[in-house]
Symmetry: none
Amino acid sequence: MAQPKAPDASRRSERSRRAIFDAALALVGEVGYDKLTIEGIASRAGVGKQTIYRWWSSKAAVLLDAFGAVVDEYDQEGLPDTGDLAADLKTVLRATADEFNDAAWQAPYRALAAAGANDEELSRTFVGRLMEPGMRVYVDRLRAAQETGEVATGIDLRIAAEMLMSPFSQRWLMRTGELTHDYVDTLVDLVLHGLRPRD
Amino acid sequence: MAQPKAPDASRRSERSRRAIFDAALALVGEVGYDKLTIEGIASRAGVGKQTIYRWWSSKAAVLLDAFGAVVDEYDQEGLPDTGDLAADLKTVLRATADEFNDAAWQAPYRALAAAGANDEELSRTFVGRLMEPGMRVYVDRLRAAQETGEVATGIDLRIAAEMLMSPFSQRWLMRTGELTHDYVDTLVDLVLHGLRPRD
Amino acid sequence: MAQPKAPDASRRSERSRRAIFDAALALVGEVGYDKLTIEGIASRAGVGKQTIYRWWSSKAAVLLDAFGAVVDEYDQEGLPDTGDLAADLKTVLRATADEFNDAAWQAPYRALAAAGANDEELSRTFVGRLMEPGMRVYVDRLRAAQETGEVATGIDLRIAAEMLMSPFSQRWLMRTGELTHDYVDTLVDLVLHGLRPRD
Amino acid sequence: MAQPKAPDASRRSERSRRAIFDAALALVGEVGYDKLTIEGIASRAGVGKQTIYRWWSSKAAVLLDAFGAVVDEYDQEGLPDTGDLAADLKTVLRATADEFNDAAWQAPYRALAAAGANDEELSRTFVGRLMEPGMRVYVDRLRAAQETGEVATGIDLRIAAEMLMSPFSQRWLMRTGELTHDYVDTLVDLVLHGLRPRD
DNA sequence: CGTTAACCGAGACGGTACGTCCTGTCTTCCC
DNA sequence: GGGAAGACAGGACGTACCGTCTCGGTTAACG
């Protein structure tokens, strides 16, 4: 079952791992994803190329881990639940919009989304690691709202959450519009109207 | 103030142009976007590299033109209007879902969406050339529905259209779910419920 | 019969060819053969690596051509023939000794002799290109001496020439002794004594 | 004034030493000297790389020791002295020719001769360890012949021995000819004729 | 109807990065 | 402390493409 040369993870250099993450994130911001190279990362991190190839299979994989490590620190603990679904969603989506407008997030996130489009394997990891967790907290919050009657029963909450998040992501990814607070508010209102219990 | 070397388009070889398109589309399907190369296209098309560089600035630009030429043949003439908005949307989105599930469309479309994420200029062209026209017909159809009272007035139709199309595109691009007819129907129903005239 | 990608020699850049020779000879003198690298030659010559790989198969092949070009300028025109074989041989071998003691010749010559020992193909070329011509003029001179009676008939002149040159080369290659004029004189005398017509 | 880390030879593993020799000799025969690597030797010998680096400074040094150990078993005990110098020399040189034509000797011997050409230090060891002892027995035999009058007095026996051995070695090293028994006989006769007491 | 200027196929060029291999050092764990 | 194992920083390998340039050849507009 094992690959033909599994490196011994217990001997891995934590120092190098971190230097590689820092270098990858810094470089993707400076030169963009297309001009990001393994050699560049290695050189900036003061690391041999082989140390990268030993642990990752592509620059996308490095970036995914690097960005994942950053995101993990933002420890999501579920959406707020003040009892007012619309207000809660607006609060969180406004914050998310601010994050997406932050240059430090743009480059790696865009890069990974793009790389995922052409690489199914990477795409699965990207979605599972970075997008699914976010999606799940929305579904949970919607389920809670269903129990208080704010949202109709019988609705596919997964699709409901996508109605909220996909227009938002798509707008940003394709640059078809700004992610303003106004936009967020309008979107939340329109979506929630559709989720209301039917008359 | 002309560029240092504006090639004379009137002397351009139509034969070569087509051969390049065919080669680009065939290759992106066979080897994927990342391994698509200008040299590969040139060689497959039986064309000198310079003939590509003379007319396009990158492999993305070639692919965009090549795919654009294919798409143009599907000449969109607006959405049907039978008077039943939901039915009309389902009809068209089901057809679109089938298209997106067609392997011949996947590779170039994904490639361009991905390339656009990292290249703002390309992104603008991609959206303007391939996505905007599609979006526009939806907005038009929604406006018609607004006039018949099926959709509430005062709604931002652009955002409404995005609520319909973005979850759909995102699902496909990120591979977070299948584009089935059932999915389309559910999505349309949920969205339209949100667009109904308020009580 | 042809190799799978014969480059077009008529388009070859003479400028690059010369720059490569110069760089190779300079570097082998500066850093030695073992630390001579294709990358180093390319970089010093201001040339792409591929330009070297296109025309040569190894650093040894480059060096052989480079050194060959230098040697060719020394245009051998046969040994002098004053009628005194011993004197003629001493004159020429003394000059050769001086050449072999010249640092500029040492590095490439040693390198090629060494590389040839481990690479039969290269060895054939090295011998044929650089050593055979030298050997031949000695054989010719000995043949002339045979006609004047200075050298016995029936002697294998090839072996005779080797008796003269091999101890000389071996001494230099293996560093088992100095190549002084005295040494040369002694060697010539001993060898010629063996070649004298038998009593 | 000891080196920074003089390993304690008394604790050295004889088992590893032998495994390294065997691996080095086997590999140089299989893949040639250029592709012989320390890693390859270590791995084939079932030994850590450090165990090699601890005791030798280069692959050439390993090979020299390995080959030296083999040669030592051939324990030279001087040339035969039947009273007939020519016959004795032919006997021994014929045997040597057979040895040099044996594939098992070729690779390491050639490799070391080549490595010596570019590495003065190695060259001294190689000559001193493997070539000098052989040379010495020839000089001794010639001296004995001088005392019986077969060889002229006043001759530099060192140079005389080289006249015999260098053409032989050179021919083999440079592949300029076969080492046949006929060749050996002719060479011995020619050389001895030159060494005869002058008239 | 010949001249000539541009596009064209071809591919050599100076470069950059790839992913692999090996070097020589260092660290860990075992005996 | 020697030895097996192997991660590490470093660097060269030989390959693949990049985007530029130069070379005939062909082809269309102009004189």
